[in-house]
Amino acid sequence: MTRDIDQVGWTRDEMARRLALDIPDGSYVNLGIGIPELVARFVPEGRMLIYHTENGLLGMGPSPEKGAGDPELINAGKRQVTALPGAAFFHHADSFAMIRGGHIDLCVLGAMQVACNGDLANWSTGEPDAIPAVGGAMDLVAGVKSVYVITQHGTKSGEPKLVERCTYPLTGRGVVNRVYTELAVIDVTPAGFVLVELSPGVDFEHVRERTGAPLRRR
């Protein structure tokens, strides 16, 4: 991938790589659609993660070779995938029992907004004309042990996505544990946003200015 001229900090791949570093070997992981899916490409050598897709598969593998796919072996984004040795198929109630029951160690999601109290908005702009569609996002954030968000630090128009209070409709209340952006890794704590790590060449002030709520150092 080429780096934009005005790109500051990590690329999307680098964000995904940085996040992947933090996932322990043997974790059960659910990756949201989009940037979160990239994480699977960057799992460090020697670690094995088991991927859950809420439409009924544990042990999901990468996309099939061209032409080798099965239209009925898909992920939550409705793209064709594979099943690795040790996989299991199950129905939707069992799948969400895994989610709601706290059996999944980590889910990685995109975000429209993350508030400093852990509130997440990632399913609807709330516009009256929009077709509302929530899927499994509310179940994931309510049930999975850790919720990591991976997202650009700001919107395309430059508004911060890390905010004091979400203005979009919530996906869940107080659910986000950590945020990975192109600028930094930031924990959501009882004391609000706390910096974990800056991306190379980015300084604290730069991140603080682009964050819509107080950001502390550890």
């Binding site: 809420e54 239209p71 009925e72 198929f89 129905h91 939707h92 899927g135 179940d139």
Partner: protein, 236 residues
């Protein structure tokens, strides 16, 4: 002799009346019982309430049923699909009612409906717009919403293989909502690639025991929605 097989999709859906509630299996195209849906379009029932995770794509299968304006209400977790124009038009035109339910809550409500559980508490959607108007309650200091079991008059499901007693096994991620919808409907209709005699499925691997299944229909080579959509197919 118990033999739940029926001669074809048309016979299987013949008694679905106007105003019936119908659960339709599938997550995207995986598990979508296209031939049963097309038979339902041919059959003509109107004013249906459909319970299904999505709203279909293109103008075949579930999307075609919607386009034919047979559905007055849909209970659904994700009615937005890349290739779907049918639902958005109907919805914006006020021609269809939508009850949006988080996917896991939808699955659990269906399972509860089938298991005789009238209501249960779930943490999903607490603090969100989907909690509006719902009872909430604390357990162990954490907030949960009261959700109700969901049943339907009919379920249309796609399996891989069934025996004449109605035992069903599924295919990969096409399993999804099938087993729980089978539990939650008054009449459960399953299309499968093949129907075998009782004894043809190992009792250890049955996914939907026959008690949950009323009719099985052989559709040896079911269409794939994505292929139909790519070919620009419409139904009828």
């Amino acid at each position: 002799m118990i033999d739940k097989s029926v001669p074809g999709p048309a016979a299987a859906v013949a008694d679905i009346r106007d105003g019936a509630s119908v659960m339709i299996g599938g997550f995207g195209e995986a598990g979508s019982p296209i031939e049963l849906i097309h038979a339902l379009i041919d059959q003509g029932a109107r004013g249906l309430t459909v319970i299904s995770n999505n709203t279909g794509s293109g103008e075949v299968g579930l999307a075609a049923l919607l386009k034919a304006e047979r559905v007055s209400k849909i209970i659904c977790s994700f009615p937005r699909t890349a290739n779907s124009t049918v639902f958005p038009e109907l919805y914006r035109g006020g021609k269809i009612e939508l009850e949006l339910v988080p996917q896991g809550t939808l699955a659990e409500r269906i399972r509860a409906g089938g298991a005789g559980i009238p209501a249960f508490y779930t943490p999903a959607a607490v603090g969100t717009p989907l909690a509006e108007g719902k009872e909430s309650r604390l357990f162990g200091g954490k907030e949960y919403l009261l959700e109700h079991g969901l049943r339907a008059d009919f379920a249309l499901i796609k399996g891989r293989r069934a025996d004449t007693h109605g035992n069903v096994v599924y295919h990969k991620t096409a399993r999804n909502f099938g087993p729980i919808m089978a539990m939650a409907a008054g009449v459960t209709i399953v299309q499968v690639n093949s129907v075998v005699p009782a004894g043809g499925i190992d009792p250890e691997v049955v996914v939907s025991p026959g008690i949950f299944v009323d009719r099985v229909v052989e559709v040896a080579e079911p269409a794939h929605e994505s292929e139909l959509v790519a070919a620009g197919a419409t139904y009828p």
